[in-house]
């Protein structure tokens, strides 16, 4: 059979138009993911704050009490604040990917029974993780206020804070691109999900989440700077604490990578989407 099958639909429009038409579904799935995650749990949404807080305490204990590494680093802010600003965006990134990777397989009964753009699953995973991120971010205000008042460290707000949504936007684009790629890969090979946990863990230590990374010319430093998450997390700290808008080439390069990953992820996802129901 040489003719390729085709489906004509009068709805028309491109990928983005279709996604916009299904925004209600996306909203619904984000809400569903949030509801399901916190259903039958006593503390509910408080977990969104408790988890990064717990991580912050753990790393503060490890790096300042157990082995004092940060003492010699001369951080421009108390270590807990440093760690929290790193951990919250990282938790958003990591939990987006961890949820997205299984999102299509988990929703088999939707994928094989109803039609709609399949992107909504990984995107909804990113969306629900974003909700957690925003809640956890609010706590940062309290944390900064505490250190401002209780210690001799002072916080100065600046106009650079207005740049935060831009950083977040590029982080979201990068996350969405990877989420789509991973969800798709996992559909064909379930191994992806197994590998991802370890990979994300490794990735975290190649990113300046709990300690600063300098581009010191060693291969580890170079590797860390090639990783787009490093400039992004550094940019959060620069904006909030130093009050400077990121100007480094590395940051804008990371933004370019984020856009490229997002477009490539989306494009390849859509190309393969019609086979999902068969291969799942």
């Amino acid at each position: 059979m040489s003719i390729l099958g085709s489906i004509e639909q009068t709805r028309g429009g491109g990928a983005l138009a279709e996604l916009i038409r299904y925004r209600q579904l996306l909203g619904c799935l984000v809400w569903r993911d949030i509801r399901v995650r916190y259903k039958q749990s006593l503390l509910g949404m408080a977990w969104a704050v408790l988890l990064p807080m717990a991580m912050m305490f753990i790393f503060t204990f490890v790096f300042t009490r157990a082995v004092n590494v940060v003492g010699g680093l001369d951080l421009p802010m108390p270590y807990p604040i440093f760690a929290y600003i790193g951990l919250v965006p990282w938790a958003f990134f990591a939990s987006s990917l961890n949820q997205a990777v299984g999102s299509i397989v988990k929703n088999q009964n939707l994928v094989t029974k109803v039609y709609f753009p399949r992107e909504v699953f990984p995107l909804a995973s990113v969306g629900s993780a974003l909700a957690d991120f925003l809640i956890a971010a609010v706590v940062l205000v309290g944390l900064i206020a505490y250190y401002h008042v209780a210690t001799d460290w002072t916080f100065r707000a600046s106009a650079a804070l207005l740049f935060l949504p831009v950083i977040l936007l590029f982080q979201v684009l990068l996350t969405c691109g990877l989420a789509m790629l991973l969800a798709m890969a996992n559909l064909f090979y379930r191994d992806v999900r197994q590998m991802l946990g370890a990979l994300v863990q490794l990735w975290m230590f190649l990113t300046c989440v709990v300690y600063p990374i300098r581009n010191d010319g060693t291969w580890i430093g170079t590797l860390a700077m090639c990783n787009p998450m490093t400039p992004i997390i550094q940019a959060y700290r620069d904006c909030i604490i130093a009050g400077t808008v990121p100007q480094s080439v590395a940051f804008w390069l990371a933004c370019g990578v984020a856009v490229a990953v997002c477009l490539f992820g989306w494009w390849s996802f859509r190309r393969a989407a019609h086979t999902f129901a068969e291969y799942i």
Partner: protein, 426 residues
């Protein structure tokens, strides 16, 4: 105007066996290929779930799809819904499409009934506001008011089907696809669903209905498509489609029920065939008859050794299983005395006053002398009956309604018989 649904020469291929390998096999295979050694793994046999199927459905038309298991019915629906992509041919859809492909599809067990209504609405592309407007109708139709805040995982299958159908039926789709989902609902709900589907069709919705419930299909649909092994074997009137389908199935599966017709020819006589015709002689065979018209049942038997005093019994069962009538020639004092060879025995019925439906006949041959069963066939000879709107139930008796007569002394104006209403019920 373009039809709402157009299916043109559509083919869909699947591969047999496990679809994907593990990553390990992939890597190992890739390395082997790189090394240049070893043959490529054998290509899996392709299997055409649908090949070159064409049909279309206009706005406001109800098309039924029937066929045995594995005929490609669900594949056709999934292609229409856009879940699968065809390997050949063209599918064109005009308008908003809602699909009910399986019970509980598109529902999430952890969410409540109400949340799931919103979710299913969003899946077909409705806005929250639209759903809110329809909510009262959906809830009333489903009859699940008391369970709306219960998670769907605690629902029974029937309740899930109710929720799913109610939502799909009230999103006012331009095209509604319904797969075998109503069978789990109870009788009352099934009836309501039939009514709602007819209502939607009258309102301009195109209905594509896949079912094994042939009676339900006949009631709801205007046309029917019979699929068999991925090809279209019949497209036309529902009653004829059912006849076609049943005949093909009976042929392939050997009929309904068990029979002990000795196949080795040891019996003195065997039944070769049973056919229906409108009249004696060489009248054409019938698949389908009207309840008020005469039918002649022809039983063809092959006699191996001369038989004397052979009684013939024909029994007719409804597809649902009820025995409607059993006619034995002995009771009419007719016994056959037949020489070896093939004989055709007619059984004349002035009418077959049965409700619309599918019926099956069975033949038994008795040795009246020794009261012994000679040969028996399964219920394998289908006949469709159309009652022409004589009423619902099991029988289609001719009947007439008279004028009302005042019995309390008051005047009773003679009423013109409202002929346009007679027979319009159902």
């Amino acid at each position: 105007m373009d039809p709402a649904v157009r299916f043109e020469g559509v083919s869909k291929r699947f591969r047999r066996g496990e679809l994907h390998d593990s990553l390990r096999a992939l890597i190992a295979g890739g390395l082997r290929r790189l090394a240049g050694g070893g043959a490529r793994r054998p290509r899996r046999e392709a299997f055409w779930a649908l090949s070159d199927v064409s049909f279309s459905a206009a706005r406001g038309e109800a098309l039924g799809i029937i066929g045995p298991n594995g005929a490609g019915k669900s594949t056709a629906l999934k292609l229409l819904a856009g879940i699968l992509r065809p390997d050949g041919g063209t599918i064109a859809i005009q308008g908003r499409l809602a699909a009910l492909i399986e019970v509980g599809a598109g529902m999430h067990g952890d969410l409540t009934g109400l949340e799931n209504i919103y979710l299913s609405g969003a899946v077909v592309g409705m806005s929250r506001r639209e759903i809110r407007e329809k909510l009262a109708d959906i809830v009333a139709f489903s009859g699940l008011e008391k369970f709306l805040d219960t998670p769907v995982k605690r629902y029974s299958t029937g309740m899930q089907a109710r929720l799913g159908f109610s939502t799909a039926a009230f999103v006012n789709p331009d095209i509604l696809l319904v797969d075998e989902v109503l069978s789990v609902g109870d009788a009352v709900f099934r009836h309501r669903c039939e009514q709602r589907m007819s209502e939607l069709v009258r309102g301009g919705t195109t209905l594509i209905f896949v079912t094994h419930n042939l009676e339900q299909m006949r009631k709801v649909c205007d046309r029917a498509l019979v699929l068999d092994k991925g090809t279209c074997s019949y497209l036309g009137k529902p009653a004829e489609a059912v006849a076609h389908y049943l005949r093909a199935t009976m042929h392939a599966e050997g009929g309904v029920g068990y029979a002990d017709q000795p196949a080795d020819g040891s019996a003195a006589a065997e039944v070769l065939d049973l056919t229906y015709a409108a009249a004696d002689g060489d009248a054409a065979e019938l698949d389908c008859t009207r309840a008020d018209e005469p039918v002649v049942v022809h039983v063809t038997v092959r006699v191996h050794q001369r038989v004397t005093r052979l009684a013939v019994q024909v029994a007719l069962r409804h597809m649902g299983g009820e025995l409607f009538i059993s006619m034995n020639s002995q009771q009419r004092d007719v016994l056959y005395d037949l020489a070896p060879g093939v004989h055709r025995i007619p059984l004349r019925l002035p009418a077959l006053p049965l409700a619309s439906g599918s019926y099956f006949a069975q033949v038994r041959l008795w040795d009246a002398e020794h009261c012994r069963l000679v040969c028996e066939t399964p219920y394998r000879y289908p006949l469709q009956v159309e009652d022409g709107g004589q009423g619902t139930g099991m029988l289609a008796l001719p009947h007439h309604w008279g004028n009302a007569i005042a019995v309390d002394g008051g005047a009773s104006a003679p009423v013109d018989r409202p002929t346009q209403l007679v027979g319009s019920a159902d």
